[in-house]
Structures are given as structure tokens and as C-alpha cells.
């Protein structure tokens, strides 16, 4: 039988004594090893927060201070005196020095009790929210479909995967250029097709509604791949034997999806949706390189226009940036609420 060796296994010929209980290895590592769980966690978080503090928190604080001062368009000092929240008030009341307003609604006494200063699609808040919600929904559904396809085992899957990820690898400038040219009646045929479908007018890139749709399509084209990649990773890390259990228990493919795949992929899916939402809420480059910020003003459009528009209104820019962050923060709290209910979730 197995143990017919003369030498006793595991002892013979070894010059290594039994392991001792001395601490082995590097003393720093050992110090780390004996930290309490919480202390260890904080230690591991130091690098991340150090980087964030330098690159994010410190600039944000300075930007916030900026937002509390007045604009100064002349002179060496880019900022005027301290004005408190005046800039914020201007932004929220539609009186900011911006070509398109953050939000421009006022309450009225007659139904429906709100009055639009300008059409919804010319108010950055609504453009952005609409864009984020619609694009994320489509991207999630399509991304799931793509991930599902990629999760199958078939020949050529690697190349299909390349194809599906390719849009995500396209720089925004190019993404913008593609769709700009596609809907440039002289060059592309996009307008003809859409007009033939009765969806678009003659100059979609100049029309807020049509341009909004174009930007949605462009974004979905590019970013579904992001969702697909993350969801795919989620799918791949599901323990396959659970599917066996479910199959024997009588689950149809749909039921397996609903009861096993979906909940187990949910954490990854939520992360993907969370970040897609935040990205979508900050959409800018795509707009700039297709229809332009005038036609489809997003929140970030306002920030960039204010900051780089040529007229030095840094304080307004800073205030818009913070207002934007606030809006995104509010939307994100919806997600945080969901995260709490998710098994294997983050909190």
C-alpha cells in the first residue's frame, strides 16, 4: 500500500524541524498581523485615502471656498469678495451667468403649479436626469444581454468579446465624431434613416430633442460594454454547482436566472449601475463633440462652460460643480438604499 516507503513520510530526510511558534517573517508584517480587525482595516485604507486626500479632497475644499466668493472677470485675482451662498442662490433661481440654466422653474398658482422658464430640455438638471435614467436603463438591459452572450462557451467567444468591448475603448472625441458625422446630413446617413422612420427632423444635431436621442444612442453604444464587462465578471464568479442544484430542483432557465444568477450578480450589477449613473450624470465630452452644450446642456456642460468659457467666472463654476455633486449625491442615495438590501452587498 501507499506507505511502503522505508522512510517515514514527512519526517525522513528533512532538516526542517517542526514549525515553531515564533513569529516568522518581517516584523512589520507581524505587527500588522496582530492589529485588531478595525485597526488593520484602517491601515489598509491609508493608501487609498492618502491619494484621495491629495488629489480629491484638498482640491474640492479649495473649490468649495471658491464657490463662496464673487466672480471677478478682470485683474490678476480670479476671485472677488466673499458672498456666501449667493452663487448657489443664483444657480437655483435661474439667474446665474450661464448660457443655459441649471434649473429654471418657478412655482405658479395655476395648474400644474410649476412654470418653466425655458423648455425642460434646455435646463441642465432635467437634461441630465433624463439622460442618466434612460441611458442607464438601456445600458443595463443591453449590457446584461451582452454579458449573457459572452458567458456562453462558444468558439470565437474571445473575438465576440473584443467586438463587444470595442466601443468602450473608443475615446470620447472619436465616439462624438462618429455620431456627429453619422447625423451630419452631408456625410452620414443617420438623419435620413431616422427621418424615414419619422423620428427625427431635418437637423437633428441642432434640435434639442433629436440631439438628446442621438447622444443617448451614442452613449448606449459605448457604455453598454462597461455594464457587460462588469456583469460578465459577476456571472463568471458564480459557483457553478449552484446551477446544478437549481436544475435538479426543477428551475427553468428563466427561474435560474431570476433566483440565482440575478441575486448573485446583483452586487456587481449595482456597482456597474451606480458608476454608470454617476458617469451619465457627468456627461460632457460626448455632447460637446456632437450637438454642443447649447443644444443639449448637461450639468457638467455648465461647469465646463463656466470654467473654460473664456469669461472668468470661476466662482460660479465652482458653485455649479458643487450643485452638480449635490444632485448626483441625491441620486446615489437611492442606490445606497438598494445596496443595503442586497445580499453580499457592501454595507
Amino acid at each position: 500500500m501507499a506507505a511502503d516507503t522505508d522512510e517515514s513520510p514527512l519526517t525522513g530526510g528533512t532538516d526542517h524541524p517542526a514549525e515553531s511558534r515564533e513569529r516568522t517573517g518581517n516584523p512589520v508584517v507581524n505587527r500588522m498581523e496582530n492589529l485588531s480587525e478595525a485597526a488593520y482595516a484602517y491601515l489598509l485604507l491609508i493608501p487609498a485615502f492618502a491619494l484621495l486626500a491629495l488629489i480629491a479632497f484638498y482640491p474640492l475644499i479649495r473649490t468649495f471656498v471658491m464657490s463662496l466668493r464673487a466672480d471677478e472677470t478682470r485683474g490678476a485675482d480670479p476671485l472677488g469678495g466673499f458672498v456666501g451662498i449667493e452663487n448657489y442662490v443664483d444657480i437655483l433661481t435661474g439667474n446665474a451667468r450661464l448660457a443655459r440654466q441649471f434649473v429654471d422653474v418657478s412655482l405658479s398658482t395655476s395648474f400644474p403649479f410649476v412654470e418653466l422658464g425655458v423648455p425642460l430640455l434646455q435646463q441642465a438638471l432635467f437634461v441630465t436626469l433624463g439622460f442618466a435614467v434612460i441611458s442607464v436603463i438601456f445600458e443595463t438591459v443591453i449590457g446584461f444581454g451582452q454579458a449573457y452572450v459572452l458567458d456562453q462557451d462558444f468558439r470565437g467567444r474571445r473575438w465576440v468579446r473584443v467586438a463587444i468591448i470595442l466601443p468602450w475603448a473608443v475615446p470620447i472625441v472619436i465616439q462624438g465624431m462618429i455620431f456627429f458625422l453619422l447625423f451630419q446630413p452631408e456625410v452620414g446617413f443617420g438623419t435620413d434613416v431616422m427621418q424615414w422612420l419619422g423620428v427625427f427632423g431635418a437637423d437633428p444635431l441642432a434640435d434639442s430633442r433629436d440631439a438628446f436621442v442621438i447622444i443617448l444612442i451614442a452613449d448606449i453604444w459605448k457604455s453598454a460594454a462597461f455594464m457587460a464587462l462588469l456583469i460578465l465578471a459577476g456571472l463568471q464568479s458564480v459557483d457553478r454547482s449552484l446551477y446544478d442544484v437549481a436544475r435538479v430542483a426543477g428551475a427553468s432557465p428563466w427561474q435560474r436566472f431570476k433566483m440565482i444568477t440575478l441575486p448573485l450578480v446583483m452586487p456587481a450589477l449595482l456597482v456597474a449601475m451606480l458608476f454608470r449613473t454617476m458617469d451619465a450624470m457627468r456627461v460632457y465630452g460626448l455632447i460637446e463633440s456632437t450637438a454642443g452644450c447649447t443644444t443639449v446642456p448637461s450639468l457638467t456642460c455648465l461647469v465646463v462652460e463656466a470654467m473654460f468659457g473664456g469669461t472668468r467666472i470661476f466662482a460660479t463654476a465652482a458653485a455649479v460643480a458643487f450643485a452638480t455633486a449635490l444632485v448626483i449625491g441625491l441620486i446615489i442615495s437611492v442606490y445606497v438604499f438598494f445596496f443595503r438590501d442586497t445580499e453580499g452587498g457592501l454595507y
Binding site: D239, S241, L242, R247, A249, S252, M259, E343
Partner: protein, 393 residues
Amino acid sequence: MARVRLEHITKRYEDVTAVDDVSLEVADGEFVTFVGPSGCGKSTTMETVAGLTRPSEGNVYIGDDEVTNLAPKDRGVAMVFQNIALFPHMDVFENISFGLRLRTYDDEEIRRRVEQAADVVQLEGMLDRMPDELSGGQRQRVAIARAIVRNPDVFLMDEPLANLDAKLRVHMRTELQRLHRELGTTIIYVTHDQAEAMTMSDRIAVLNEGRLQQIAPPLTCYNEPANRFVAGFIGSPSMNFADGELVADGLETDNFRVDLDPGEVPGVTVGDAVTLGVRPEDVHIASAAGDLPAVTAPIEARTDVLEPMGDEVFVYLLLAEEAGRSMAEDPATASDQLLMSVTPDTEVHEEQDLEVVLDRSKLHLFDSASGEALRHGLVERSEPESGETSKAG
């Protein structure tokens, strides 16, 4: 109706043949246990019945239907998995009710059934725990509950009781037997526990290296094993074997001989290599074997190690003095050793010389070459026996 039939099932992996041409039939309502060494293909065979593995060759029938290609969900089977595989994102209740929730049961009914099943496996009060808050045995019980709650035609259970303590195991054993009786379900069961296999099964299927060795009622396997493998595998501790040669008037092994008439052993002739098998409990101390009708001639032996088990004591006997022998070698295969089991009150010490006899009615003969059983029990022979211990080293 829920008969299960395997026809020439073979399953090959890249470099292994996990199941090799297995055909067997499990009658409706029958309880069949698969036993065999680790890696012999028990789980794989079950998976082909469940539909999780498509056999490389052969067909599977459940009831009257060929189901080889049917999806698992349409086969009406429930399975307890060897690796347990609880859904990590569901609590115990949801795990157990998984199969029910796939169907159109109302919540009331589901809760009732889950609670019953949890009762059976003694998981009351843990229904809202998550799998990672359970002990190993508790998880296994959840897995069992998940299968029994569904009340299918065929149960497949792959070592469902492996992590349970003896007492709970006895409880579960009776529960499963009751379920079996009451529901009339066909059960295919894998266990490594001899007691489980012996007490629960209508028949035992012994597998080795992917091949079916014997399928027969437990006591048949125990008393009339089809071949040397089955004989050695069934029964714990294992049967003693001694390789020998058939001579004119008996069987001669290295250390002793047994009288017999070669003509009464079918299929072999004088000069053939024949292996003698005898179970530890059929080895008796010569002085205390008075009441046995037929025993072999006394064999001289020396006790080596004693293993008290509480209700019995295993005595390792050395038949020949030899250097360097250690207990580590499997006594069943070392032809100079003999394992005897005696009651705890027997007077026996380590390093003691004594004479033992074998119960002739319980001797087994196997063809040494093929391993096939030749004969079980030599007791019909009427002439007196004379054994002698060989001195050979």
C-alpha cells in the same frame, strides 16, 4: 412508475473513465445504496440519473421514459449533493423552499412543508439563518431538507449524513426510511457508512473503478460477496484474505491450510491459485469455539495489537514471526496477519500466543486471478478437518 434503469452507462472524462458500462435497474420504491471506494464513480452515476451529466454512452430511463437527454427539471428527481451547495444568498428557509417556490404552491403550503422538513432534520428555529452562520452538520441538514421537501419520484442522496453525529445520523436514518416507506419514493443513496448501507438499503450496488461489482441485498453482499473486491469492501473491519493454492485435499496458504475437496469448488482445479477469505468475527479463539459445529484446525498465532472498540475488541494476530512488521499495513492484505474480533470480556492481551480456528461455515473462496467468488461456506462437508499452520515466512 419511478423505476430507474441505467443501460450501459459510460462516462469518460479526458483521461479518466469515471463510469464504465454500468447497467442496473432500481425498482419503483426501492432503496438502493451505491457503495465503493472514493472516486469509483458513485457521484458521477448519480449525476447521470439527475441529468447533470450526459453519459458518454448508454441510456437512462426513469419510469417508462428514456430521459437521457431530458433536462434535470423534467425528471422529477431531487438530489442531495455531496458538496452540499447551499445558495449563499438565501437563508435556510429560502434554501429549503427553493424547489417549492419554483412551482405554484401557495405561501401557506410552502411554509407548512418547509417547517415539516426542518422538523425532520431538526433545524427548527434556524430558518432565518444564512448558510455561513451554520455549522457543517447544520448545513448538511439544510441540504437534506431541501431535497425532501419536494416530494419527488426519485431521491438521489450523495452522502447526505456524512457530517452528522452518530445519534442524529440514526435519527435521520429512520426518518429517511420512514419517508421512503410512507411516500414510496425510489431512493438512490451513496454512503460510506457500512451501518447505513446495511440497515437502510433494499439492495446495495458495489462499484469499483467505474464498474458495477455486485448489486444485491445487504446480507447477500455480506455473506455471499460476488468477488474478492466486494468481500473486502463490505464489512468493517475488512475480511481477512489469505492467498493459497488448491492441493489435492485442501487449500494451502502461506501460514495454514484448510481441508476441502477441490471437486466441490466449481471452476477450478488442483494447482490453481485460490484465495481464502474469512471475516474477523468468524475467527475464534480455539478454546472458546466449542459450540461451533465446524471449525478448521487450530492455527497458531500471536496477538499483536488490541483495538478495543467498546462493544468489541479487534485483535491483530501475527501468523508468522517477521521483522519490521508494523500495524500500519492493512491487515486484510498482509497474508501473515489475521484480524479477529472478540467481545470485550474475552481474556486476551497483547503479545500473547494462542490458537485460533476459523468457522468453516463462514469461509469464502475466491479465484485469485479473476477475484470471482468460488464458494461461500464449506460446511456441507462432513469429514473432520485437520488444519496445520505453515512455517513459511
